[in-house]
């Protein structure tokens, strides 16, 4: 659906050229929700603007539906842009137009008839839950409602792609959740491909299928959200994940010496990660029943990555070394991810 090939972007700044993107390659499949996460200044907003040519890449190709956006004429580009809806951090609604007219805006650009506009706008307003606000002006709406108008407007021309540029960054956590579930809902109902730019890992975790971590104008890590979350490779990725999934040990173990070699009488700390169906398996019960060891559960939580349940458990095992080794072998035979932290006394 969307293919970015070797995208480079250089800006002419006051103190010479600034390179925002240094060779980005991405492939985004039809109907996917693709997240791009990075810190401010990482180049993510420039990257999403390159998709619809609000920024023209200095080098590289942007292929959408087999068409290279960088090679289109001005009028061809305007036509192509009607296939790409976009929503913004600051909503960018017309303050002089009411909700109805804002959503009708892209249709009026194409001189669509007023009755047809009504048939298109009203269902969109009910899709985003604003049926009763058609005649309100943006200044009379909350941030979340404004973004709903932005979403309805972006969908008005029936686009195949939706670009979301930090769409929830100006919203409070509850409103963010509501807007994210609306985007997810639209993606499911309309099968629209979505690119989400964010600096919040929570957004990626809640709605994205795939994620690219961008840093310093290059993609540091990329893959399915589940893989990236459960086995991040780059420090920047780990940092993003640790914000929403703290990896710290419980307070009583902090500052204590942790040994990777067995220590007599010490507790072996192990972090277990259950993904998907393995979350249902009674692994701990089997562990206690089958091996002569004591198992204490130190911390744990169950979460979801999009629709996949994902559990994390920190356990401590004490007992004869041979029993511990056997127990570890048992755990490793199971369909769970294991991270051995070490022995602590």
């Amino acid at each position: 659906m969307i293919e970015l090939r070797n995208i480079e972007k250089t800006f002419d700044g006051a103190d010479g050229a600034v390179t925002a993107l240094r060779g980005i390659n991405l492939t985004i499949g039809t109907g996917e929700i693709y997240g791009i996460i990075g810190l401010s200044g990482a180049g993510k907003s420039t990257l999403i603007r390159c998709v619809n040519m609000l920024e023209r890449p200095t080098r590289g190709e942007v292929i959408i539906d087999g068409e290279d956006m960088t090679k289109l004429s001005a009028s061809e580009l305007r036509r192509a842009r009607k296939n790409i809806g976009m929503i913004f951090q600051h909503f960018n609604l017309l303050s002089s137009a009411n909700v109805y007219d804002n959503v009708a805006f892209p249709l009026r650009l194409d001189n669509v008839g007023e009755s047809e506009i009504r048939e298109r706008v009203m269902p969109l307003l009910s899709l985003v839950g604003l049926d009763d606000k058609a005649h309100h002006y943006p200044s009379q709406l909350s941030g979340g409602q404004k973004q709903r108008v932005g979403i309805a407007r972006a969908l008005a021309s029936n686009p195949k792609v939706l670009l979301s540029d930090e769409a929830t960054s100006a919203l409070d956590p509850q409103t963010t959740k509501a807007i994210l579930s609306l985007i997810l809902d639209i993606n499911k109902k309309l099968g629209i491909t979505v690119i989400v730019i964010t600096h919040e890992m929570q957004v990626i975790k809640d709605i994205c299928d795939k994620v690219a971590v961008i840093s310093g104008g290059v993609i540091a890590e990329e893959g399915s959200v589940l893989d990236v979350f459960t086995s991040p490779r780059q420090p920047i990725t780990k940092e993003f994940i640790s914000v929403i999934m703290p990896n710290e040990l419980p307070i009583e173990f902090r500052g204590k010496e942790i040994s990777s070699d067995p220590v007599a009488g010490a507790k072996l700390l192990v972090r277990l990660m259950f993904i998907g169906d393995s979350a249902d398996e009674p692994v701990i019960a089997a562990l206690i029943r089958n091996y002569p060891i004591d198992v204490s559960i130190l911390s744990g939580n169950i979460d979801h990555i999009k629709d996949t349940p994902y559990g994390r458990l920190l356990i401590g095992m004490t007992g004869e070394q041979s029993a511990i080794d056997e127990a570890m072998a048992f755990l490793q035979s199971k369909d769970i991810r294991i991270e051995v932290i070490g022995y602590v006394s």
């Binding site: 619809n52 609000l54 580009l77 305007r78 036509r79 192509a80 842009r81 009607k82 790409i84 809806g85 976009m86 913004f88 600051h90 960018n92 609604l93 017309l94 303050s95 002089s96 137009a97 009411n98 805006f105 892209p106 009026r108 650009l109 002006y137 943006p138 200044s139 407007r153 021309s157 670009l163």
Partner: protein
Amino acid sequence: MSADIMTLLLKALGETLRMVAMSMVFASAVGIPLGVLLVTTARHGILECMPINKFLAAVVNALRSIPFIILMVAIIPLTRALVGTAIGTTAAIVPLTLASIPFIGRQVETSLNEVPYGIVEAALSMGATPLQIIWRVYLPEAMPSIVAQLTTVVIALVGESAMAGAIGGGGLGDLAIRYGYQRFRPDVMLATIVVLIVLVQAIQFIGNTIAKKLNKK
């Protein structure tokens, strides 16, 4: 105050209103598009074209640096060529218009620059043409501000039209100079001043009311 003074005052008010209204219409017809061009041809504008932008800015600055009273006299040949005479209300409309065009251009430029670029970017992302962005984004979004700025221009025109009166343009300024000053009639002077004050207050009130009604922010 006698009835003839009243008649003179009404006639002068009529002439002032005519000068201001006609100049405003002609000057807006050129000045508003000029303001639009100043914004859209600027760097990163939707019709970026620096040579045109620099040329327009230079012309605007040149015209604005000439004091009105000098401009009025300096363009007498042009005025004569356009309306056949250099004296009278109609003749005064030419320099008034010419002086107001760059003023309106700059005022409209300021108003349009207040429109957040994000809204323009949103329209671009929806495939709007530059003309559609001007008509459907820039002008409606800036309209309350444009109205407020044009109100200032109208009031400035009232003042300039009085200067035009000094060289035979008619209107309230002419009345005040000829009767109030040259014939030592303080009552006429006072009456003219009162009428001017009321006129300016009324213009400001109307401008504010329209701007407020248009503003949905």
